[in-house]
């Protein structure tokens, strides 16, 4: 069984899980862009049960519906926690030791994407969340 492992840049926070990601998606929303320093991020959702974190991330409430967690030492952006899905944790895929293990399968908030960062692939491009129209 492959264990997925990852962590922040300084190593102060590490995580590991034997679970497979439930989904892995690009997000183009303005909050993710700002928090991650890139025009789009890839987040992978895992079951919280069985997801082990070592070190204590700092927590920031980024909206009425979600919190984000980062390393207080190096500032590395790590986790997104939606209030509506307490049993799940979204991991910033670029923090995996091998990000190739969680390739994205869709785009969300594609309507917010910047002109110079359009990603030409065949993945469905949802206007907002995954249940929104494909544009």
């Amino acid at each position: 069984m492959t264990i997925l492992e990852g962590g922040c840049m300084c190593g102060g926070i590490r995580y590991r899980t034997a679970n497979r990601p439930r989904q892995s998606i690009y997000c183009h929303c303005s909050q993710c862009r700002k928090w991650n320093g890139a025009p789009a991020i890839v987040g992978a959702r895992f079951d919280r049960d069985g997801f082990e974190i070592t070190g204590t991330p700092a927590t920031y409430r980024s909206s009425d519906s979600a919190r984000r967690q980062f390393c207080p030492t190096c500032g590395g952006s790590l986790f997104y926690l939606g209030d509506a899905t307490p049993d799940l944790i979204s991991v910033m895929v670029a923090t995996l030791d091998d990000p190739e293990l969680a390739p994205p399968t869709a785009h969300i908030f594609a309507a917010d994407g910047l002109s110079w960062s359009r990603i030409d692939d065949d993945l469905p491009r949802h206007s907002t969340w995954l249940d929104s129209e494909v544009i």
Partner: protein, 143 residues
């Protein structure tokens, strides 16, 4: 003139800045350290002299390697800038922290050799294999 200055800040608003230089050079870095720090496939940034920007709030500065420091907001964690020891008068600000990130378009890409398989390099923007913007532009093998 002030109406055209670039402004920005972190996600929570504890750190704000105003840029006083026109049309700074914007770039994208695909190095593995930037990927891991930002939790994203690459780091979009723009270079300004340290005297060309006014900060409100105090970023947390962390030495990320023997050649550079990085700064973030201590309250929300938003990455803010990279500053190399070899260019002590300049630093690279996170482009996505601009209030209007559409005002700057990256002119080149560095560390293309470590670009993530997806999304890969940005199309139509010159790319260089490593840190130096010299030699032959990088072309990903069409395997």
């Amino acid at each position: 003139m002030s109406a055209t200055n670039l402004t920005g800040g972190c996600l929570c608003g504890a750190i704000r800045y105003t840029v006083h230089v026109p049309d700074p050079h914007a770039s994208v870095c695909h190095c593995r350290m930037c990927q891991r720090w930002n939790g994203a496939p690459y780091f979009a940034n723009f270079s300004v002299p340290v005297t060309g920007i006014t900060w409100q709030g105090t970023p947390v500065v962390w030495r990320s390697s023997g050649i550079a420091v990085r700064a973030h907001c201590g309250a929300c964690g938003t990455p803010l800038y990279w500053k190399g020891d070899r260019q002590p008068d300049s630093h690279d600000i996170s482009l996505m922290t601009l209030d209007d990130p559409g005002r700057l378009r990256p002119r080149d890409q560095i560390w293309a050799k470590s670009a993530a398989a997806w999304p890969g390099l940005l199309p139509g923007i010159p790319a260089w294999p490593g840190e130096e913007r010299a030699g032959e532009p990088f072309t990903r093998a069409t395997d």
